[in-house]
């Protein structure tokens, strides 16, 4: 993230999870905030003819009749076209209960976690007891370590990494290993040849030439910028909806004004 983004970056969300980091018998009360928000543009679908919003309705595919929410149930497709019904209560019953704890199991070097496993990043803020928070943060920084453990968010339990970042603690949820594709399992990658020596030397030289400092601020979502520009133009365009005065009227009035001017001059 660029420096500029951090200064004027997205307004932080309010905390959506309250609990504590627990390490053995020590608890640090924290709140969790969304830290990364993507700048996406959302559009509403309209009926071109009259500009009215399009609405989704839940209809039964058999008779096209709208189905009220209370008559809707979740179905899991076991075979093509064959479902088993699962009631909400049944799902609730097996849902992991969030015990409002981030349980730290051990401390590791931050670099041990391959970034491929990173899922989402959250900001941890102290929920009372800022001393405990400060202590944990400072200890992480001094030791250059991160905590690895578990958190239950809504309906899922995640492995999570807790570490210090710019005078704050952050939590990164991680993917489970079986969610990440093993490159060795990809056929196209199983038989790639060794490169030739000469070609490799050339490739290395190109890399050396292009080696530089990371400057993420140089990257922009140019598509989004163009869409926003388009929207701005259209919004302005909406107000530029003016009948031009008929040139004849203006000229007629102008002659009248000239007469007025002449009359005023004469009377002086």
């Amino acid at each position: 993230m660029s420096e500029e983004e951090q200064e004027s970056g997205p307004v932080p969300h309010r905390a959506f999870w309250t609990g504590s980091i627990s390490i053995g018998l020590v608890n640090v009360p924290v709140r969790l905030m969304v830290m990364v928000r993507e700048h996406t543009l959302s559009f509403r679908l309209l009926h071109r003819k009259d500009g009215q919003p399009i609405q989704y309705r839940r209809v039964c595919t058999r008779d096209n009749r709208e189905v009220p929410w209370e008559d809707i149930v979740k179905g899991y497709e076991v075979r093509e076209g064959e479902y088993i019904m699962i009631e909400r209560e049944e799902i609730e019953a097996v849902r992991p209960e969030s015990d409002r704890r981030i349980r730290i199991d051990r401390f590791i070097n931050v670099l041990e976690v391959e970034p491929v496993y990173y899922d989402r990043t959250y900001l941890l803020v102290p929920d009372g007891s800022p001393e405990a928070y400060a202590l944990l943060m400072e200890a992480f920084r001094k030791k250059g370590r991160a905590g690895i453990g578990r958190i239950t968010l809504r309906t899922r339990e995640y492995p999570a990494l807790v570490r210090e970042y710019q005078d704050a603690l952050i939590l990164i949820t991680l993917h489970y290993p079986d969610e990440v594709t093993d490159p060795a399992a990809v056929e196209e990658l199983s038989a790639i040849p060794e490169p030739g020596k000469k070609e490799l030397a050339l490739a290395e030289r190109i890399i050396d030439d292009l080696t530089g400092e990371l400057e993420l601020s140089g990257y922009h979502d140019t598509y989004r910028e163009r869409i926003e520009e388009l929207i701005q133009k259209k919004m302005k365009g909406e107000t530029v909806h003016v009948e031009k005065p008929k040139a004849a009227e203006a000229r007629e009035l102008m002659s009248a004004l000239e007469e007025t001017l002449a009359r005023i001059k004469d009377s002086r």
């Binding site: 200064e7 004027s8 307004v11 905030m33 107000t239 009948e243 031009k244 005065p245 009035l253 007025t260």
Partner: protein, 292 residues
């Protein structure tokens, strides 16, 4: 994150966010500017639909126009609903009629406050008309000044006493307060006709839309005189690098050769006197225009 701070009854947020990066002006300073300018700017905002241009990421970022009251608008903010033909729906305009609303707007980073040229109680009858003098490079502010002075003389000959302000960018706005007896078609035609007259006296003046973008000319824009079109409010900030203000001027100052950059968020407050103080006491009628 610290809890919301309050200014009066208005919660304010991210006070340290820099809105004018070139000068390092924070949102706190912007709110401060609008609080101190309230006595001068509120008479021009009250009773009038407002179109704000917001810059939540500062003037270097993308700004956006907002006509509709944004989600989360407090219930004490005055709104004015109007069905828009082009948008085919009701627009709920904000009416800024109190210091609280002004602070709330500043907190939304609504740097540019644009006003409709008519009041909400009779939106089809303008209470002011606008000559928007817009120089086309290489013409710049000095050419706009020259045009404004010639225009002032011409209007003076017709018995009118126009007011003048910087646009805060490169142009000047010459404005006449009006008795509310004309429609926009009449004010628009009047401004257009004066533009034609002026272009005969001053060849660099362009009075037709088709003649704009000719280098070195000054366009007397009459098209702003229309229902629901807006003008930047006097004393509003502009989203410029230098944090300029659309500043009301005396004709004496215009003659002396001021520059738009003389009036910024930092200098505008300390200004003595208010050349537009009597604005609404001097409503005029247009010569040679027969209203119904």
């Amino acid at each position: 994150m610290a809890g919301d701070q309050m200014v009066g009854k208005v919660p304010v947020t991210n006070l340290d966010r820099i809105l004018y990066p070139f000068l390092g002006v924070s949102k706190k300073e912007v709110i401060g500017y609008y609080i101190r300018s309230a006595p001068r700017i509120l008479p021009f905002l009250s009773g009038r639909a407002l179109v704000m241009q917001r810059f939540p990421d500062g003037v270097a970022g993308q700004g956006f126009y907002e006509k509709d009251a944004p989600p989360g608008t407090p219930d004490w903010v005055t709104l004015f609903s109007h069905g828009s033909r082009t948008a085919e729906r009701e627009i709920r305009y904000v009416v800024c009629d109190s210091p609280d609303t002004l602070i709330w707007l500043a907190n939304l980073a609504a740097l540019e406050l644009n006003i409709i040229l008519a009041r909400t109680d009779d939106p089809e009858r303008p209470d002011m008309l606008l000559f928007d003098l817009d120089p086309e490079p290489p013409a710049g502010f000095p050419e706009a000044v020259e045009t404004a002075l010639a225009l002032s003389e011409l209007l003076g000959e017709l018995g009118l006493s126009p007011f003048v302000k910087t646009s805060g960018r490169k142009g000047l706005h010459v404005v006449i307060p009006l008795d509310r007896i004309y429609g926009f078609d009449e004010t628009r035609t009047f401004v257009h006709a004066i533009g034609i007259l002026l272009s005969r006296r001053l060849p660099k003046v362009v009075s037709e839309l088709s003649g704009t973008h000719k280098p070195g000319t000054v366009f007397v824009d009459y098209l702003q005189n229309a229902a629901w079109k807006t003008m930047i409010a006097p004393y509003s900030l502009r989203a410029t690098e230098q944090a300029t203000v659309s500043m009301p001027l005396s004709w004496e100052e215009v003659r002396k050769g001021i520059m738009p950059e003389d009036f910024t968020i930092r200098t505008a407050i300390s200004r003595q006197g208010d050349p537009w103080k009597e604005f609404f006491d001097q409503a005029e009628r247009l010569p040679a225009v027969n209203n119904e």
